[in-house]
């Protein structure tokens, strides 16, 4: 019976006594209201989204992942989602409602849900949670994220080859490790194929703001930039590039409607690859709370089709890099690499550890811009 199992499970030692009593009392009332489920019923899979499923970017890609789960497992799963759930005050309630609705696993698809996931997971030890892009885990909470910097290595290579002015631009979102990894990876690989390349960075301080992203693209082009990489999720920069006859890349989703030019390729999130694997593990009983950080090789990070606007030899070079990364033969952060202040970061042949990357707060040598702190 769910009630007995829930109340009997050991909770985290850090939880104080008052909270413990509170959550046990809450769970008793909660569990009584729930029908107990039999084994042959479908696995209930819940998703919580920060945006609407129609956003054509971040949330859309997660919802594509949900649909991939339905397609893969058919009647063995039943999926539901809550969209437009703001981070902060509403997240905890929405997660609780998903758990109360009998979901066996809940995927929380935005960084800001992190503490809410940990709180709710402690009250529902029988429900499995996975939190996207976070770093807090528990007995029933795993995390999953993409190694987007692997994709930037490929698009950075194309950018370095394609620029005529030797100035490439990057529309960044917020100075957090994921974004800094992307800037560094793109720059390192552009410079590798074009030693004269310079990188300009504009901070949009938003993940999705078409007006601001368009301004950022125009500001970069005014400085002579002719290839733009973006970390922001709207198609506005591509629209500006199209007008100016310059090129860029799709981000988060494939943005194929701007192909073959200005969108010459893309780095997009293919969460379905993870969701199918994760749900499969729950179904066969091998799921564990892990810190999953998947890249091109795992299928989570995908490189969109490289269009005919890119010369065949550049395309072949980029695809060879992609395949080497996917096979694990090459790490995009391989020494010798120095930090922007000139100090040594990685010695010859040394590769960055995941700890290094997950706290990355510096530019590599060669990027002259100031990193906002």
């Amino acid at each position: 019976m769910p009630c007995a199992r829930r109340a009997g499970t050991n909770r985290e030692a850090s939880m104080n006594r008052r909270n413990l009593i509170a959550s046990v009392a809450a769970m008793t009332t909660i569990s009584l209201a729930l029908p107990s489920w039999a084994q042959d019923e479908p696995l209930k899979v819940g998703f919580i989204y920060v945006g609407p499923v129609s956003d054509g970017g971040w949330t859309y890609q997660h919802d594509q992942g949900r649909l991939a789960v339905e397609q893969e497992f058919g009647d063995r799963v039943e999926t539901t989602y809550l969209e437009n759930v703001p981070e902060g005050v509403d997240a905890e309630r929405a997660l609780t409602q998903l758990a109360l609705a009998g979901n066996d696993v809940i995927y929380a698809t935005s960084f800001g849900y992190m503490d809410a996931v940990i709180n709710v997971a402690a009250k529902f030890p029988d429900v499995k949670f996975e939190h996207n892009t976070g770093y807090k885990r528990a007995d029933n909470v795993g995390t999953y994220d993409g190694r987007f910097y692997e994709g930037r290595a490929v698009t950075g290579t194309i950018a370095g080859r394609m620029t005529k002015s030797n100035k490439i631009g990057y529309i960044a979102t917020f100075p957090i490790p994921e974004v800094i990894q992307g800037i560094n990876s793109a720059y390192i690989h552009a410079r590798k194929v074009n030693p004269d390349v310079e990188m300009r960075v504009v901070w949009a301080y938003s993940w999705f703001d078409p007006a601001k992203e368009a301004d950022a693209a125009n500001a970069l082009m005014a400085e002579g930039v002719d290839v733009i990489l973006q970390h922001t999720n709207s198609t506005a920069p591509l629209a500006q590039l199209q007008k100016a006859g310059k090129i860029g890349f799709g981000q988060a989703s494939d943005m194929a409607s701007f192909a073959p030019t200005p969108r010459v390729s893309s780095v997009y999130n293919n969460w379905g690859a993870h969701y199918v694997k994760s749900v499969g593990r729950i179904l066969d009983g091998t799921w564990k709370p892990e810190a999953i950080w998947g890249g091109i090789g795992d299928g989570i990070v995908a490189i969109g089709e490289i269009t005919e606007a890119v010369p065949a030899e550049v395309k072949a070079e980029a695809e060879a890099l992609r395949d080497k990364i996917a096979a694990g033969e090459y790490h995009p952060f391989t020494g010798p690499l120095n930090k922007a202040d000139g100090s040594v970061w990685l010695a010859e042949g040394q590769t960055a550890t995941d700890e290094d990357l997950s706290g990355m707060n510096f530019y590599v040598e060669g990027i002259t811009a100031e990193l906002p702190q």
């Binding site: 209201a33 609407p52 539901t80 989602y81 902060g88 409602q97 503490d115 957090i176 490790p177």
Partner: protein, 358 residues
């Protein structure tokens, strides 16, 4: 030709019943909308308005109503005082954000001290922050005649930027791996605003909301300042002759509503929200405007209206979960509610007459 003619006298019954009519009209129009979209309208309306109160998981959702309604009621109580005087604070959202930041600043500066004074000091700092942010439009109006509507609204966007700066800069959790967001105040006992009685949802913000309702009721119906406010709203010239200083009223109303919004922000950031992020403003300051009008700018009405709006939030989530209604349903409902309310209000003050154009 259709003309609107002011009514010479409005029946009290009609005036008092418009919120109820607006709710019923919203249910009807909402049901119609659901039917067009292919959902069963009766089930949808029942899921939104009935299930959170009496449905299978009501033991969880009922306390959540208080959690959701508390900031709305707290903010709307303050706004209503100003609205009665014809002073339009549209920027409670910004005052809420600044209050949250100022309150959290006290906690983060004191971390990890366990002293008892920390939480009360946070409440004072939150109120002071909201008050100060409300005083900017007040002073600009008093000194330069700037519209408090525009200034207070624009300051919301300034406050949002400050919140983003704080979350990525000075208040960033030093143990957060460079990720945005402050420490979680729920995990800092001296600063946390937890549930006071287990299973009720009631935190200090709920207590403050009830006190605010009582205090504004006393102010408006028993205190001379309340009389001045009502006089200034209904007959500004007469009020001036009676010795009411408009400047004082502007400062009082914007300061009061700012302080209450700031406190609401503090209670949220120390409780349900937990941390300062770039998204601490979730729209309570704007929804509270609907609450104030739906409650007829009367403290008791605001209490009920706050609970009703909270019901649409929680019921809307339930409808998403159980019926797969789109997430925008809640916003559509809230928008319709205000639309019908304003519409019915117009009809209580004006008569429609049809006349053939000459």
């Amino acid at each position: 030709m259709i003309r609107l003619v002011p009514r010479t006298d409005t029946p009290a019954l009609l005036q008092g019943s418009t919120p109820v009519l607006a709710v019923l009209a919203t249910m009807l129009a909402g049901g119609l909308l659901f039917a067009i979209m292919g959902y069963d309208p009766v089930t949808a309306i029942r899921t939104i308005f009935w299930d959170p109160l009496f449905g299978p998981a009501a033991s969880y959702s009922r306390p959540q109503l208080l959690v959701k309604a508390a900031p709305l009621i707290l903010i709307a109580s303050g706004l209503a005082v100003g609205f009665r005087a014809g002073i339009w604070n549209i920027g409670a959202e910004g005052q809420y954000i600044i209050g949250a930041i100022c309150g959290a600043a006290v906690a983060l500066a004191a971390y990890p001290a366990p002293e008892m004074w920390i939480f009360p000091a946070m409440v004072i700092a939150g109120a002071a922050g909201g008050w100060a942010w409300g005083m900017i439009p007040a002073l600009l109006r008093n000194w330069f005649g700037a519209s408090e509507i525009l200034v207070s609204l624009m300051l919301v966007y300034v406050a949002q930027r400050i919140a983003a700066w704080m979350a990525f800069g000075p208040m960033k959790n030093p143990e957060g791996f460079g990720m945005p967001g402050s420490r979680n105040l729920q995990q800092y006992p001296a600063a946390a605003n937890p549930e006071l009685i287990v299973g009720t949802g009631a935190h200090w913000g709920v207590v403050a909301a009830v006190l605010a309702v009582l205090a504004t009721w006393f102010l408006m119906s028993r205190h001379i300042r309340g009389f001045h406010i009502r006089a200034a709203g209904t007959a500004p010239r007469a009020a001036r002759f009676a010795g009411v200083k408009p400047e004082t009223l502007v400062a009082f109303c914007l300061g009061l509503s700012g302080a209450l919004a700031g406190m609401a922000g503090l209670f949220e950031v120390a409780g349900p929200a937990g941390q300062i992020t770039d998204k601490i403003g979730v729209g309570y300051g704007f929804t509270a405007i609907i609450v104030a009008f739906l409650g007829r700018l009367h403290p008791l009405g605001i209490l009920l209206a706050g609970l009703l709006l909270a019901l649409t939030y929680i019921g809307g989530e339930l409808a998403q979960l159980t019926l797969n209604l789109p997430g925008a349903t809640v916003q559509v409902f809230q928008g319709m509610l205000l639309f019908f309310l304003l519409g019915f209000d117009l009809l209580t003050r004006y008569r429609i007459t049809r006349r053939i154009a000459a």
